[in-house]
């Protein structure tokens, strides 16, 4: 039990780091609005896959890293990611038996919730971003979910 937990943390941290790098990878300005929230998807994956390995701590600290990197008010992404990570953990048993399509829909709901918390904090702190394109990321993220599961499954097997 103890040994298992120790082994499981490594791919978790590594995949989070890679996702963080993808979040700041320079893209052409046109594609930038279409960038999916890689780190959020990875956090959801670990919340569902191994909830006892500390998915919620991962969510909080990943969110903090996103806050620092995006240069927004500290705690914004942390709050959104913690809330949605907890929701994902709560839904994990159902999600695991869902078909891929239903999984994507649930992930879409989670990502939309995530964006909504960001949107709300943006507004509450006085820097509202009202462009419609911010709601594109959940679509792309949900479409990417099957790919992510495949890749993460491979990583996890090692």
């Amino acid at each position: 039990m103890m040994r298992e937990t120790r082994i499981r943390r490594m791919p978790m941290a590594l995949s989070a780091l890679v996702a963080l790098a993808l979040a700041v990878l320079p893209l052409p300005a046109v594609l930038d609005a279409f960038r999916p929230d890689f780190l959020v998807l990875v956090v959801f994956y670990w919340c569902i896959e191994s909830p006892r390995a500390g998915g919620l701590s991962l969510a909080f600290f990943s969110g903090l890293a996103l806050d620092v990197i995006h240069g927004v008010v500290l705690g914004q992404h942390a709050l959104a990611l913690t809330l949605m990570g907890a929701w994902a953990t709560n839904l994990r048993l159902r999600i695991r038996v869902f078909s891929m399509l239903s999984q994507c829909l649930v992930v879409f709901a989670l990502l939309t919730g995530y964006q909504f918390v960001l949107f709300w904090v943006d507004g509450a702190t006085g820097n509202p971003v009202t462009t419609f394109s911010r709601w594109l990321a959940p679509f792309i993220g949900a479409l990417l979910w099957p790919v992510l599961i495949g890749v993460m499954g491979k990583v996890h097997e090692r």
Binding site: E49, V68, I69, G75
Partner: protein, 295 residues
Amino acid sequence: MVAFRSTEASGRPTGLLFRCVLYSLLALALIIVDKRFDHLGKIRRLLSVVAYPVQIAVASPFEGWHWFRDSVTTRDALRADKTRLEAELRVAQFRLQRYEALEAETVRLRALRDSTAGVTERFVIGDIMNVDLDAFRERVLVDKGAGDGIYVGQAVLDSGGVFGQVARVGQLTSEVILVSDPAHAIPVQINRNGLRTVAVGTGDINRLKLPYLPTSADVVAGDLLVTSGLGGGFPAGYPVGTIAEVKRDPAQSLADVDVKPAAALDRSKELLFVWLKPQAAELQPAPKPTPVPKK
């Protein structure tokens, strides 16, 4: 399709609700403290140091590619570059001939009017790091930080004109908000007639707007906009942009003026951080310009 393999997910994570509430409250507290008070500056600086390796790791392949391309350019390309640069230098030197005299004259005239606003003292060059920040805000990350003396609100120029100002300072890096960010405004005046107004960003990198000019204002397409130096943030007299289009609707009281930024906002790689000369206290009738300690 079995996507998830591990069996321990059926086990209940201990204290999920407790942890969720704890972390959420912590995040909310962070948001409030960061927004309302200024105590988190140090923490943020430290965290930005932690984020630095990730940003370096992402930026380095691009830097490597640039370096590679630079080192394998052909002799012909170098010669062409050299010829072009020599021509540019000739023009620049020609323009510079009278600069010293003009600057001395400007300082003298300004001293007569008890204002030293807008005389630059020194500058530092910073490189834009090849990382994307927020997709919905026009900001860039630069590899100079508090360690180099950069401060929040500092004016940033590029070779074409005003680029933006420093929005946030980390220990090793700083964030520059572009003049085209919707949250950015800069005091300007029209070079032709000295008309003062404010240029506001639009979120479109190729466009600023002048929202506060009446329809009767003397402004035509092609006019050069320069910084007015009011407000003390920017040095006076640097180009901000040229008027691209003026739309006058007789039914409206304000004109709709589009400006094309002078700085190459989407192409510049090197930026200039500018320090202003210590200013006389503005709006106060002082007999002599009293120097304030430098920031």
